[in-house]
Subunit: 338 residues, 2 copies
């Protein structure tokens, strides 16, 4: 089998890899129907996050079960399944509290930019779709694995309620699906912060009622104008820098909520303004497993089309071009077909 | 009239001051029954928080209304009242959302270490007691103004629920009353972090079920031992340093809640561990006005005795000794009688 390996900054190779096999009785082997490149893959791709050896890449996946270990009970060969980017047992106290991304046995998935994938803790990680999906549903089903699940968590953590006002900071795929999530949760007004025409349009398709193209202080001033001087009930922070976090804090109303899902690489947050502003902060790696059943159903019933974030589809063996297109912001998100 | 003025580090004077009078039609004038020194007063007293001119001190108060402006409707001369350390109109959107400490007209109270006090926005700031209190209730009623209200907010922001496990970081008066608050809210286990015998005893009187005297990593290890390796549902952070905040984050369970009320003077928080740990953070200047009616009633009905945090009572003209005793940790909290 061939799979995707990152060797160093901008050095993605699609090369021979050992074919995955059952290693533990709780494993499953999937033949992937689709995989993709994540915004977070760009951190090591750009050399911002260091790697110390060639690293197999990919953590978003869906496909058909080929084999399961002897202890796997909830999925079986032939089923189409989707899993979280975080492997979890779904039985430990953290999982029972709804935080499968903090499972006592948690591992971050990798090696999914490949045709075949071994998934540890299959019972706790995978959820089967109601049947074999038609081909046109694959992109939307694939998003559930991470990018939709993460946008959904941002909205959930930001406490979006029917009728509330939500601001989305960040117009990457996660931010755009944060807009969609806020819409499904019933937000009355959704303000997307974006300066890119194509992303603005997609935000509007997903339910944004307002677009703010200014950033920083000017962006905050526009949010205040749109909210009677108060700021928003909910802010979804989908970037992960100190600037974007402060923009989120200042865009929230006093006592409002910020859901943050952008990985804070080395970020230190000045707490005094956060304190004075009395905001709620909640975020982290999304506990996608908590949301999988409901999000699969929403896609299956064609109530949402999160797959629209894929504006580039390539055969898996062109994965390097998929990274380049996202790195250069020529593509929002690249879908890869094995 | 004489009042308390801070001139510089360790230079507290009790000196002639103009007697407060009604300045605006929304003002009230109170003759104070009791006032006190706050832990936060020690920041400028120690020179950590700079002052640029002689500064009248004091923001915790209760007493009898002497006069009201022409627009004041909810309190009247002769009533015994308690007010928040934050002046608020209690009608703006932030107040209606329960965040009176972020009121659009908010001012931090000062000048309360004096016999007579002008309170702006009296209708939105003051709450009358059911009658004239007996003298022995004064210390407990006074705590409602800030120190109890702040400990209560820490527990509320940390999402303390019946049966949950709460950890309290900080054994000052706010932390001790955080213990009391968690107890009233029904926490099943309350772990107080303290290394001082007298404070440990008071924590136990207020409802602490466990005392942890270790700090930092060893303190966190003890909390983990006491919580089956998971960490606590709720952590009350009542100090405000980066060390105490990281101790709070690491003492919480994955997905747990931290209520922080220690003023974060210049604190920058490393967000990556907060992110990975998926905790909820909420805090700020306590919206005491939200809690005043219920807390007054709990004291009035003698269900709680928060006044026990006062272990030193002095005549107001000895206010300088009241500061010294707290600065040198000879006293937990000093009550001053005009």
């Amino acid at each position: 089998m061939k799979g995707t390996v990152l060797y160093g900054p901008h050095d993605i190779r699609f090369e021979d890899r050992p074919e995955p096999r059952i290693e533990k009785p709780t494993d499953a082997i999937l033949r992937l129907a689709a995989t993709c490149v994540c915004g977070s893959d760009l951190w090591p791709y750009r050399g911002v996050q260091k790697i110390d050896k060639p690293t197999p890449m990919g953590h978003e996946y869906c496909g058909v079960v080929e084999a399961v270990g002897s202890e796997v009970k909830t999925v079986k060969p032939g089923q189409f399944v989707i899993g979280s980017f975080c492997v979890s047992d779904n039985t430990c106290p953290n999982c029972r509290n709804g935080y499968q991304s903090g499972c006592e046995q948690m591992e971050f998935m990798s090696r999914a930019q490949a045709p075949i994938l071994r998934v540890p803790l299959a019972d706790g990680t995978l959820v089967a779709t109601p049947g074999t999906p038609p081909d046109d549903l694959l992109p939307s089903l694939l998003t559930v694995s991470d990018v939709l699940g993460t946008g959904w968590f941002a909205a959930d953590a930001a406490n979006v309620k029917p009728g509330s006002t939500a601001v989305v900071v960040g117009d990457g795929a996660v931010g755009l699906l944060g807009v969609l999530s806020a819409k499904v949760m019933g937000a009355g007004r959704i303000i997307a912060m974006s300066r890119h025409k194509q992303r603005q349009q997609l935000a509007e398709e997903f339910g944004a009622t307002h677009i703010v193209s200014e950033r920083g202080e000017q962006g905050v001033a526009r949010i205040k104008e749109l909210t009677g001087g108060l700021g928003a009930d909910s802010v979804l922070e989908c970037v992960g820098t100190e600037d974007s976090m402060m923009q989120a804090v200042q865009s929230a109303r006093v006592g409002g909520s910020i859901g943050y899902v952008g990985v804070p690489h080395g970020m230190k947050l000045e707490m005094f303004p956060v304190f004075l502003h009395l905001v709620h902060l909640h975020g982290g790696p999304a506990p996608v497993r908590r949301f999988l059943p409901d999000l699969i159903q929403l896609v299956w019933d064609r109530k949402i089309q999160p797959g629209k974030v894929f504006d580039l589809t390539l055969p898996l063996d062109q994965v390097a071009e998929g990274y380049r297109a996202m790195d250069e912001r020529r593509a929002i998100k690249t879908l890869l077909r094995p």
